[in-house]
């Protein structure tokens, strides 16, 4: 059930109120209804205040809204059985279908967002700024969290305590030059999002849950993506090179790097900052436009590079093939599993260099990279065929353009792979890569005809 009221006052002040009650079939009847309201206020200041002539339009807005949702998958609440395709002689074979533990107590999630924004336009609409700040708090978010497979199941759906997302979004657009048949307009958008796992719920013993396991990396060495209490969402955890209090690195007697005692945070799976720049040039009948896409701040665990190190395919593994790689650090005693303070310096023998690089790739932080990048997403050149040339043809107008997409990677820190790679669209796997195919570059021609 949904209700919506819009009220306007004096053509400059607007109020919008909604209320909604949802019932979700994917949740159990005890917990499947949710009510959520919203209220928004907007004021067109340019209509009511006396503003300088350069300001063509000014509007400010604020809103407070709630949104809710249920479990996305149907049939997930019950344990079901299935028969295997073939019997075994005279024996029928049955199986439990669920790979994930059904949670009948799953409740809908609620997301509450507060947003303030402003929309200003200057110089007779030649320059526009739209800026917004939002703060969203989601409670009871439904997540597929990993559990120990020794329970017989790999995951379960649970309500997660409290996650927040706040940030700003900015859109600048303007007509930079307009004279003599030549026009250049551009728009820049920028957004920054900070997330936080405020509360991940409590376990059966009443203790606060410290982390939730999301996707595990395909190399299955213990690296995975987690939501960690008090950190941003989707952190990548893995092994670091074990170091002592003075920051010196530990190596074992063979000269191989030693990994940390337990997995630690090695990066953030998501990019907090994303930005884009769109430019459009027009001269008489010719137009040119290009779009640059930027992502900043996230990290990526590269399974491809992990394999490359272990198989001697990574450029770095050229070092040491003549038996000339020297490592210096502090000795870690493998036999007793103890740190020592004996300095060591080892020249890795030629026959063991492959084991050295394998041990090197086992240190997750060596194959986790800053995944910030910028790409030339689209470039297009177009020509609008003038009416004179169309002549007697039955078209109103015609235009032809050449478009290229994903044309170039402008900057990237990740060797050997595209920093945008991933192997699944599941949100829990953001930041993990494993043998992604390179992105394809597209070139095409568009012909548009109006009748």
């Amino acid at each position: 059930m949904f209700g919506n009221v819009n009220i306007g006052y004096d053509n400059w002040l607007y109020l919008n109120v909604t209320g909604r009650q949802d019932q979700f079939s994917t949740l159990s009847p005890e917990n499947n209804t949710l009510f959520y309201p919203s209220v928004g206020v907007g004021a067109v200041l340019s209509d009511v205040l006396k503003l300088p002539s350069t300001v063509t339009f000014a509007k400010v807005r604020a809103s407070w809204a709630q949104v809710g949702g249920g479990g996305p998958d149907p049939y997930a609440l019950n344990v079901t059985y299935g028969l295997l395709a073939n019997p075994h002689g005279n024996a029928n074979l049955g199986q439990i279908n669920n790979g994930s533990i059904p949670n009948a107590a799953l409740a809908p999630y609620t997301s509450t967002e507060f947003e303030v924004g402003a929309d200003f336009r200057f110089f007779k609409n030649r320059l526009g700024i739209d800026i917004a700040h939002y703060n969203r708090r989601t409670t009871n978010d439904i997540l597929n969290a990993g559990i120990s497979a020794t329970s017989g199941f790999g995951s379960t759906s649970i309500n997660v305590g409290e996650l927040t997302n706040r940030g700003i979004e900015l859109l600048l657009n303007g007509v930079l030059i307009e004279r003599g048949g030549f026009k250049w307009d551009a728009s820049l958008n920028f957004s920054r999002n900070i997330s936080m796992a405020e509360n991940l719920g409590t376990n059966a013993r009443g203790e606060a849950i410290q982390f939730l396991n999301l996707e595990e990396s395909r190399v299955r060495g213990g690296e995975r993506v987690q939501h960690i209490l008090g950190e941003q969402l989707g952190m990548i955890i893995g092994w670091t090179h074990r170091t002592n209090a003075q920051g010196q690195k530990f190596y074992d007697a063979n000269g191989f790097p030693v990994r940390s005692a337990a997995p630690e945070i090695v990066g953030m799976g998501r990019h907090p900052i994303s930005a884009g720049l769109n430019n459009h040039f027009q001269y008489k009948n010719v137009s040119l436009s290009f779009l640059i896409d930027v992502r900043q701040g996230g990290s990526i665990f590269s399974g491809t590079n992990w394999y490359a190190y272990r198989n001697g395919l990574h450029k770095e593994t050229l070092a040491g093939r003549e038996g000339d790689l020297v490592v210096t650090g502090v000795l870690f005693d493998q036999a007793t599993n103890r740190e020592t303070d004996t300095p060591i310096s080892v020249t890795i023998p030629r026959e063991r260099i492959s084991d050295y690089w394998t041990a090197y790739s086992n240190i997750t932080e060596n194959v986790v990279y800053n995944a910030s990048y910028a790409k030339l997403r689209e470039l297009s050149v177009g020509y609008s065929i003038p009416k004179k040339l169309l002549g007697k043809l039955p078209f109103e107008s015609a235009a032809i353009s050449v478009v290229g997409r994903n044309l170039a990677l402008l900057w990237s820190n990740v060797p050997n792979i595209d920093p945008e790679s991933g192997y699944t669209v599941a949100t829990g796997a953001q930041g993990l890569e494993f043998f992604a195919m390179p992105q394809t570059r597209n070139l095409g021609v568009n012909l548009s005809l109006n009748f």
């Binding site: 209700g3 919506n4 029928n92 439990i96 329970s151 299955r220 213990g222």
Partner: protein, 527 residues
């Protein structure tokens, strides 16, 4: 007010959908294509067939146990147990698969049949087999989840199972198996064809339960002899296997799909043919030859290329030659392990490992039985118990019976494996059990146990760790994991558990004193 009404735009849209029927809504969430209730014996059959699954049997049994125990040897790097390499996937495979494929099904059967007196047999057999598989698991890894294993559906507490101390796992196994054994009832509903081991024969299940208890009791001999002895003798008195007809084996078929087939054999031959890369170990062949073992040409398929025609194989017993453990195709030519003549033959084009005795393809069929516990084992265990004074039985009688059973059991794999009574008696007489001293008797029993558990290498590996028999020399490849100087005493835990069950994993590792190949488990002298 007037201004608002005059200037305001009031857009009221109130949409009232018809009142929702909650029952109809809940019904939408019921999958019409799935079943919420099923005959639990169907799950029993599936779980049992999965014990012999290809993935984990290839890795834990073929790649690790069989080579570590020097039944087989390989020059290939991926046969990790030959040179004590650590491969995370191979080492963790049994743990990775059996909790989700086997244990959770048994746990579900046990839970669903607990309150129905007519289903006691189903409940008891599921309990016995769950204990069997987790016993194997604990013998491979040490402390493992047992009490909470596979019980994810029964509550949030079980989502991150605790690793029980091996001592407690053993106590729980004994408790569970005894209770199940005593519950078996000829009057309750029979299992019939759903039981792919004994076809529903309750008497045999009772014997199997006792055989498992004897195995468990004997395993405790080194650490807690008193308790082990009492468990063993109670089970022995209660009654165990009396002939090869009682052998606890899973009956597989030729197909139609992978589930129906013996997974170990699938890996060794049929689908994956890994046995091209491994040969019979020099240790084992030399032992069989030294004792004129009639099993030599059962175990060995001859010398030659297993993928070539059988007529090209050399099946002369005198010519059989085992591959030494611990080398790759280059290092095998170093030093004096091979004679000069052998080295020359190895380097001949197309020969290499094919100069050594191969596994016999006749016991690697898809429909060949998969061993859980055998009559040969129970007789040999009884012989050892008699020597130790645990039971009053004739040790020599049991020894003879056990070795005979070990040899004659092979006819279940292929009729050509039959051996004459004369041959068998002459072999046993040659072992000279009767006149041996007690320590010698234990050595003879241990060696025969090692030979009797060919293909059930996880069991040979456990018994070797307990007794030190047969005497094996560790291999010393320069790239062996962490430069260990002994044969591994366990497999390393499945690495995924480090991050998915960190608190319990860490507690187990702290209690055991490490998660290494060399960490000793409880019955092996550890914590």
């Amino acid at each position: 007010m007037k201004k608002i009404i005059k200037n305001g735009l009031v857009l009221g849209t109130l949409l009232l959908s018809q009142a929702c029927d909650s029952d109809k809504l809940a019904e939408l969430n019921i999958n019409q294509n799935a079943v919420t209730d099923m005959d639990m014996s169907y799950l029993l059959a599936t779980a049992t067939l999965r014990i012999g699954g290809e993935y984990e049997n290839t890795r834990a049994n073929m790649l690790y146990a069989a080579t570590m125990i020097q039944h087989t040897a390989s020059n290939a790097g991926y046969f990790s147990g030959d040179k004590y390499f650590y491969n995370a996937q191979y080492s963790g495979a049994y743990m990775e698969r059996h909790y989700t494929d086997v244990i959770r099904l048994y746990s579900e059967v046990i839970q669903k049949t607990a309150s129905d007196p007519n289903l006691v047999n189903l409940n008891a057999v599921a309990t016995i087999l769950r204990a069997f598989d987790l016993h194997r698991m604990t013998d491979l890894y040490g402390d493992i989840p047992y009490l909470q294993a596979g019980n994810g559906l029964q509550g949030e507490d079980n989502w991150f199972p605790k690793y029980d101390n091996q001592k407690d796992v053993y106590a729980a196994i004994v408790r569970d198996v005894k209770a199940a054994r005593d519950k078996l009832s000829p009057t309750a509903k029979a299992l019939g064809a759903q039981d792919v081991i004994y076809n529903g024969d309750i008497a045999k299940w009772k014997k199997f339960a006792n055989a498992l208890l004897m195995r468990v009791g004997m395993r405790m001999q080194k650490k807690d002899e008193a308790t082990g002895r009492s468990i063993f003798s109670e089970a022995f008195t209660s009654g165990t296997f009396t002939s090869n007809a009682d052998n606890g084996t899973i009956k597989y078929l030729n197909g139609p799909s992978g589930f129906n087939r013996n997974g170990l054999n699938d890996g060794y031959w049929n689908t994956y043919k890994y046995s091209r890369d491994c040969k019979i170990s020099r240790t084992f062949i030399n032992w069989m030859k030294a004792n004129n073992d009639p099993r030599l040409m059962i175990v060995s398929g001859g010398i030659g290329d297993p993928t070539a025609a059988p007529s090209t194989w050399n099946t002369d017993p005198a010519a059989q030659k085992g591959m030494p453990n611990g080398f790759n195709a280059t290092t095998i030519l170093n030093g004096n392990t091979l004679t000069e003549a052998e080295k020359e033959e190895f380097i001949r084009p197309g020969v290499a490992r094919n100069m050594f005795s191969m596994l016999n393809l006749k016991y690697l069929d898809w429909e060949d039985p998969y061993y859980l516990i055998s009559f040969a084992e129970t007789e040999l265990m009884a012989s050892e118990a008699a020597v130790r004074g645990w039971i009053s039985a004739n040790a020599e009688e049991k020894f003879r019976s056990g070795v005979t059973a070990a040899i004659t059991a092979w006819t279940a794999f292929d009729p050509s494996f039959v051996r004459s009574t004369a041959e068998i008696s002459s072999y046993i007489a040659g072992r000279k059990f009767g006149e041996a001293s007690n320590p010698e008797k234990l050595r003879l029993i241990g060696e025969e146990y090692w030979a009797a558990t060919w293909l059930n290498d996880i069991e040979s590996y456990s018994n070797w760790r307990r007794t030190g028999i047969p005497a094996l020399t560790p291999t010393s490849d320069p790239n062996r994991f962490k430069q260990i100087n002994e044969i591994p005493r366990r497999l390393i835990y499945w690495e995924s558990e480090i991050s998915s069950n960190p608190a319990n994993y860490k507690a187990a590792v702290d209690r055991m004193g490490g998660d290494e190949f060399t960490t000793r488990m409880w019955w092996d002298g550890g914590n």
